[in-house]
């Protein structure tokens, strides 16, 4: 499968603990199996501690690349939290960028302590739309809660990403990778989540 842009730059953003790295690894490994050059740069600082985290995933048919995407050069942004979509969008976005956002906000500590206000959700959505060529919003956390495991929201979002078909990967590629990465019971839950995600954009 040829990629539309070379290199193709994907940013996955979220909050520590949401499982960014699992997604970048599943995507990266499937792409390497198909013969692409993949580079991933992870920014996570103090691992799980609720800060902003980001994975840069870069795909090329011709050459290995550095781990960081230059500013303004993202093609796809997968945001596991709306504010984190925006954070990455204002830095890496451009008129052609496609964004997919988990619509469930997670409140930064300054919001909890009421030193800052979380932006009005509708306005935030509008702004994300205004800065994207197309913007998808998926209530992945609620869907995850429905499965009894809000943590699988990340895999639901991965399903949505594969569903919109911008990466040279099929559903089957990721399903195989999920099966290889989890013990059987957890694989089943994650496959269910993944399929919910692909269906949500179908």
């Amino acid at each position: 499968m040829a990629i539309q842009e070379d290199p193709m730059n994907l940013v996955i953003s979220g909050v520590g603990g949401q499982g960014n790295i699992l997604l970048s690894r599943l995507i990266g490994r499937s792409l390497v199996k198909k013969g692409y050059f993949v580079s991933i740069g992870e920014t996570f600082g103090a691992a799980q501690r609720g800060g902003a985290v980001m994975s840069n995933v870069r795909v090329s048919e011709h050459m290995p690349l550095g781990p960081l995407i230059p500013e303004g050069k993202a093609h796809i942004i997968l945001g596991l939290e709306p504010l984190e979509t925006l954070r990455v969008l204002v830095k890496y976005g451009n008129p052609k960028v496609v964004t997919i956002t988990n619509s469930q906000p997670l409140f930064p500590v300054d919001v909890l302590s009421r030193k800052a206000q979380y932006p009005d959700y509708e306005a935030l959505k509008q702004t994300i739309r205004g800065l994207s060529q197309s913007a998808w919003f998926i209530d992945a956390t609620a869907m995850g809660l429905g499965l009894g495991a809000p943590i699988v929201a990340n895999v639901i979002m991965l399903g949505a990403l594969i569903g919109i078909d911008l990466l040279p990967l099929t559903k089957g590629d990721i399903e195989a990778e999920i099966k290889a990465s989890f013990p059987p019971d957890r694989a089943e839950l994650n496959l269910k989540a993944f399929n919910m995600g692909t269906d949500s954009v179908g």
Partner: protein, 637 residues
């Protein structure tokens, strides 16, 4: 990566820099590895530990970096190939030993010893962005710096040979954008290793007498320098006589190539990427400097390459005196923070007088507007249900009630977050592993100079074993007046739950003897009290009582890291909710504003607190925080 050792020779995989380092060591036949966890280095030892059972190598998490290095060096002195891995801060701990190991060498039959150090430019998860290349220079030992996961594998593998050939340990220097970057890597073979350990007692390995050993070290280093001049780890790509030469290392290589491509400067700019940084390959660099008139140095944090390029140019008869050298000195590359592709793009376009716009001006403006209007920071905070949030809550309450202006001296771990907005900011001095107790022993002696402020050192369990014990001994022996609060959450939580001497298992998952912190503290003469941090009332009372007493007192606040608990139990202890009738809303707001658990945000619509089900871990502690009993909990059926 599970089964790193099992991956097939010749296959191409996606490896993280740290995995590639581990694989390189396995391919070199490493038999002994030790380290202490620290971001961004932890995955090296973790991956080797994962491969230990099937390859028969020995891997340990040591009590600290100095002991890790000593343990690994012992294996090397007995003829095995050995590796020690740590972050930059940890290298400081190991330096005393290493500084002398360079002089002594590895003996007659020494196996290769590789010390991997991971720097953290930008201080993503460190209290410094120190550049460890200087350490290699100050100790006169070789240092290699890979630029990609493939190079990380290849260089680590070769470093063992280099170490054996030069009878000196070698540094492999990594950094966040390598350790935590993944890229395609072609794998080599993991050999069956036959070497048996034997320490030849006809020799004594020691740096004494220092002077002749120093001279021998410099000779050994000079031989390494000759090898480096023609090493394939230094490569050049570009025109024969470039208009501008980039000299770079590490991730500077890929950033430079990409920037040249984006700016269409392939005909004018060449890249000399150095992988062997100490001893500096002067001859090679000199040759390239002679072929250009302008040089840009692209490197992270300190001007290490830059000053050596300048020195080379200054000493060389081949290099014209008109050569211009740009980099940190000229301000084209910043001296703080990590390197990014954008910084290289900017420096190059400035030097060529080009306009580089990442995107259209009106989009730029819109993006900028959105950022200023809507973006708010997302500071680090403790996980929902973390015992530390409750512990610091009680510490704050107790010190307020005590009323003598007491304060905390902090340490390194998840509890460091007390100094962030998420915490209670009771920690007033915070530096390095074990320094909380060390500082407290000094503060605790200041009553003779009129100080009446009580001091409490807080330290985590792993930190306690790592570097706090000598300080605590010091406090007891010198009759300091201090308290230590040991936040015992049964893991090295910050770096990914590695075991330590207080856990019942070791790096490879085998059962291990537990060093009981409570008995240890009692054994050296401290008064020891234990409490559950989730019992806020009981803990606060115990703290208040201990604050009134004299001598060295220890309060152990014991409760598992919430992430460890969740992994083990996979269930929520309580269902928790806010009773809207009882919540006083904006008249109070105490729970969210002051306790600040992410599971308990404010509902702007109703003007009351609410539990966010997808986030709350059901620990139930906030029930005891609310002054009006408006938060309720119930054990699940």
């Amino acid at each position: 990566m599970p089964g790193l050792a099992r991956e097939v020779t010749g296959s191409r995989g996606l490896l993280m820099g740290n995995e590639a380092i581990a694989r390189g060591a396995l391919e070199a036949g490493v038999q002994f590895a030790a380290g202490y966890p620290g971001t961004p280095s932890s995955e090296i030892v973790e991956n080797l530990a994962g491969a230990a059972k099937e390859t028969g190598i020995y891997v340990e998490w040591s009590v600290n970096e100095k002991v890790a290095t000593e343990a690994a060096a012992a294996a090397s002195l007995a003829g095995l190939r050995a590796l020690a891995a740590m972050k930059t801060a940890g290298l400081n701990v190991a330096l005393d030993f290493l500084a002398h190991l360079g002089y002594s060498g590895l003996g007659k039959h020494g196996g290769g010893l590789v010390v991997v150090v991971c720097d953290d430019p930008e201080g993503h998860s460190s209290g410094d962005e120190a550049d460890s290349r200087w350490v290699a220079k100050s100790m006169s030992v070789p240092l290699l710096e890979p630029g990609s996961p493939q190079e990380a594998l290849d260089m680590t593998k070769w470093a063992f040979e280099l170490s054996e050939g030069s009878n000196c340990f070698c540094f492999v220097r990594s950094y966040t954008r390598l350790s935590h970057a993944s890229g395609p890597v072609t794998l080599g073979e993991v050999p069956e290793v036959e070497r048996k350990a034997h320490f030849d007692t006809t020799q004594t390995i020691s740096p004494y007498l220092a002077k002749p050993h120093h001279a021998s070290l410099l000779q050994r280093l000079a031989k390494v320098g000759e090898l480096f001049e023609s090493s394939p780890f230094n490569w050049y790509t570009g025109p024969e006589n470039p208009e501008l030469l980039i000299v770079c290392s590490g991730s500077g290589g890929s950033y430079s190539l990409e920037a040249i491509g984006s700016l269409n400067l392939g005909q004018s700019v060449g890249v000399l990427k150095l992988g062997t940084l100490w001893p500096f390959p002067k001859g090679l660099v000199e040759k390239h400097l002679a072929r250009t008139s302008r040089v840009l140095i692209v490197e992270e944090v300190d001007p290490f390459i830059e000053i050596h390029v300048k020195e080379t140019a200054f000493e060389s008869p081949m290099v014209p005196k008109s050569l211009r050298i740009y980099g940190k000195g000229s301000g084209h590359i910043p001296s703080v923070g990590e390197l990014t592709p954008d910084l290289v793009l900017k420096a190059l376009s400035t030097l060529f007088g080009l306009e580089y716009c990442a995107r259209e001006p009106d989009y730029e403006q819109k993006a900028h507007g959105a950022a200023t209007q809507m973006l708010i920071d997302r500071g680090l905070t403790w996980c929902p249900g973390c015992p530390h949030r409750a512990s610091f809550w009680s510490l704050k309450k107790a010190m307020q009630k005590d009323g003598r202006g007491g304060f905390l001296t902090g340490d390194i771990g998840c509890y460091t977050l007390d100094v962030y907005p998420a915490g209670n900011q009771q920690t007033k001095a915070l530096h390095a592993m074990g320094s909380g107790v060390g500082l407290a022993t000094g503060f605790g002696k200041l009553n003779q100079f009129g100080s009446k402020q009580p001091v409490i050192a807080v330290c985590g369990d792993s930190t306690f074993y790592h570097a706090s014990i000598p300080a605590l001994l010091n406090a007891v022996h010198n009759r300091s007046n201090m308290m230590m609060v040991l936040l015992d959450n049964a893991a090295t939580a910050m770096t990914g739950f590695q075991p330590h001497p207080g856990t019942a298992f070791d790096a490879v998952g085998n059962a291990a003897p537990v060093i009981d912190a409570e008995k240890l503290c009692q054994g050296i003469g401290c008064k020891v009290v234990v409490s559950d941090p989730f019992d806020i009332k009981g803990t606060t009372e115990k703290l208040l009582q201990l604050l009134k007493e004299d001598g060295v007192r220890v309060l152990i606040l014991r409760r598992k890291c919430e992430l460890v608990r969740m992994r083990e139990e996979r269930r929520y202890p309580y269902k928790v909710w806010v009773d809207g009738e009882k919540c006083r809303g904006d008249k109070c707001g105490y729970c969210t504003k002051v306790f600040k658990c992410p599971g308990l945000p404010w509902d702007m619509e109703t003007g009351k607190a609410q539990i966010q089900q997808a986030v709350c871990s059901g620990c139930g502690v906030c029930v005891d925080i609310c002054p009006f009993g408006a938060i309720a909990r119930e054990e699940p059926a």
